[in-house]
């Protein structure tokens, strides 16, 4: 039987980047991917992707792999949220300080680039290879290839980068004392698009993440280099006035869009066909522990799939790869079990924190960003950060524009939230916000941190 040094399950974003790291360390790396190679011929997106937003953690991981310059041309910087109200008026809320941005990128194109880079490094990607079972005792993969033949492949280590529906995790689930949670939220999503204008230009400001928050549902749009926008509609599956269940025909789709998203609707000539041709996808949160059994390890979505509302799914997965590679660097390439044990122990509290934040940010995105008080709150926090750049860092900035651990960001974020709730409870805050005693707010935070 063939025996690989390293087998990676999944040639998605995380599996591909991970394969590059390990190949650069001189290992024999094989990646097994159940889909066919989509790089040749006409490229067709699956119609169920949400554009990715690369932020600091992701960039740092790409940098260590020497990929920053190659990825940059695929991206478009977004400096803030452009909030659209029901009358089409917009308000711009910066994500951070001037020049700070998150970078829109298409999952499909990005994945193709990473697979190309992996193959250039010498990684073997085996497409159309379905993992039917993983024997955790012997570290053997049972693989069904495109001809329908089953093959067993041994591995020194197995890394499961095979996403929310991970085969490796399914095998681990049957082991004793494996803790596991999968939770679907009440909302689903559908991909739509805004094409370029007739003159071939972007139909809206390309340097923002556009958002139409409507309380129990919302629409977002992220720019693409071809001057289109990829839109994502988030609706409850059932119940509510506006839900996937209640949109049955062309008439319903147009009614909802004209009523709630009219300015977007005017820019969406393919709305109805896209609505009915693209699938309605669900959103899952997954937490589990341990991530390792013997010499196999879960990584990325396989160990911590999160809802997409903080834009950190891919970024946290890339950070996983970076941290794992740093541990291999430090402890040596033969100490797999020690590396895995240290990795899961240090990383788990952080991925728990970002999973929770992603869930909480859904409420903020669909409701609060439309609230005038939310804008003031953001302004006060921006001012605090400007005056005391090291003492008050808004939560979004800690998560997105720093590489501070997610759990530390979460803890400090909660302290800041309590203080800001107090500040915002002042009934005159709308008028007085710029006359606040900012030094006193910083004092309060310092005291809270000391407890």
């Amino acid at each position: 039987m063939k025996k690989n040094e390293v087998s990676i399950l999944g040639a998605g974003l995380i599996g591909s980047l991970l394969s590059i790291y390990l190949k650069k360390r001189g290992m024999d790396v094989h990646v097994y991917e159940k889909r066919a190679d989509n790089r040749a011929g006409a490229y067709k997106e699956e119609g169920r992707s949400i554009n990715m937003a690369l932020s600091d953690r992701g960039w740092r991981a790409l940098e260590k792999a020497g990929l920053r310059e190659k990825v940059l041309p695929l991206t478009i910087p977004m400096y803030g949220r452009q909030v659209h109200n029901e009358h089409g008026a917009t308000t711009f809320i910066p994500y951070g300080k001037e020049g700070q941005a998150i970078y829109s990128i298409s999952r499909g194109r990005f994945n193709q680039l990473l697979m190309n880079e992996a193959e250039i490094e010498g990684v073997n990607i085996h497409f159309e290879s379905k993992i039917e079972d993983v024997d955790l005792r012997t570290n053997e993969l049972h693989i069904r290839d495109k001809e329908g033949q089953q093959e067993k492949v041994g591995s020194e280590v197995i890394l499961g980068a095979d996403g929310a529906y991970s085969s490796l995790r399914t095998a681990m689930l049957k082991q004793v004392r494996f803790n596991y949670k999968q939770e679907y939220i009440s909302h689903g999503y559908k991909e739509l698009s805004i094409p370029p204008t007739e003159k071939g230009e972007f139909a809206m400001d390309p340097n923002a993440l556009h958002i139409w928050p409507r309380g129990s549902f919302m629409l977002i749009a992220l720019p693409n280099p071809d001057k289109s926008f990829t839109c994502t509609l988030f609706l409850p599956f059932e119940g509510e006035r506006v839900s996937f269940e209640n949109i049955r025909d062309e008439h319903d789709v147009e009614g909802v869009f004209q009523t709630y998203f009219d300015d977007a609707y005017q820019k969406m000539p393919n709305l109805v066909s896209e609505y009915f041709n693209n699938p309605t996808a669900s959103l899952i949160n997954i937490e589990c522990y341990p991530w390792m059994i013997n010499k196999s390890l879960l990584i990325g979505d396989a160990s911590h799939a999160m809802v997409p509302f903080y834009g950190q799914g891919m970024n946290s997965g890339f950070e996983d790869c970076l941290i794992l590679d740093n541990l291999i660097e430090k402890l040596g390439a033969n100490a797999w079990e020690l590396v895995f044990a240290k990795f899961q122990k240090s990383r788990k509290p952080n991925t728990d924190a970002i999973c929770r934040l992603a869930m909480e940010n859904f409420e903020e995105m669909k409701a609060d960003v439309a609230d005038p008080k939310f804008l003031i709150r953001k302004r006060i926090e921006a001012r605090l950060h400007e005056l005391y750049p090291n003492d008050w860092i808004p939560l979004y900035t800690m998560v997105t524009f720093s590489t501070m651990s997610y759990s530390e960001a979460y803890t400090i974020g909660k302290l800041q939230q309590n203080i800001m709730d107090g500040v915002m409870s002042n009934p005159l805050i709308t008028q007085n916000w710029d006359k606040l005693d900012y030094a006193d707010i910083i004092d309060r935070l310092d005291k809270a941190k000391a407890v």
Copy 2:
């Protein structure tokens, strides 16, 4: 292909009782059980059972099936907890009012009785039939029989009473939007025993649940009709001074028992061999939703496995059967999907509540029951219940000696807990407890309930 009207997975306590209910309604009922029939020949317990404690909910369900009188001779009433301290001194804490008891019963014997009764009714139990897969689209079971032959069996409905490691639930887990959580606690357990004395008598009071609470671990013992006690040792798997990991040999076992459980140790001649021959089992909490897909339904542990610390695992499963049968009675035997939908919707908040209570009671059992203040707290609550029998019902009584819904018991229990925390914070409570203004406490509860 053969098609059953009703297929039940699992001939355990829940599956057997459920089969009796449905057979009594005139249905064609087939039960598939992966174990062999253990009723013939020498009966051997598996060495990993915790004795069951039947309480009001369980009795009510048995009563409707006409089984109360048949089960009673297998049971021994336990009127309270007999708490053993490290010096062998004991304190008795009644479970309820005089005459109220929970009933110790051996899982194995009880299961045999229910299987016998099911067969007398005309239920077909197929032993050594392993469910390898369930096709939820066609409601087909893929069964591997004892000869190793695979058979496909169609069913009008499938009821998964196949416990914490349910095959039906495994099939459901792959369906979209199935929410699932499995959580192992840090403690495991091991079955031990206290045999009858040389004179053939019980070695301790048979009408109590004996408990040796030691903070981070504990031992319990429940009586059997053969005058032995089935003991269960609960220890952390790892870490701590006393854990399964740290007990390596005969010397360690005896050291731990002599130090912490000396009065029990004197009565356990087979301790060392039992300790090393019986497996160390783990404890899992499972919550999931939905419980139904099309015409298949999870019931009992398959949908809500809980830790054993409230003695409600079997009782809640029997109550599931009763509630399901009541819905069939009301809505008719052909309205399966409606019955299942109503069942899961009304039952889920209640099983969530008892799962949570079971987890919380672990803390109480291993720590608080050894605290003198705990005893006073129990006495105050008993007095309140005596003075105001309808206004203050201790949580344990609501769960164990009533058929009030678990979620209502949980909510009222939390209100009472807050009030009792206030009462117990009085530094002189140890001296003054019987001079409290009990009417005022009831007033406070009424106000809290009104909010």
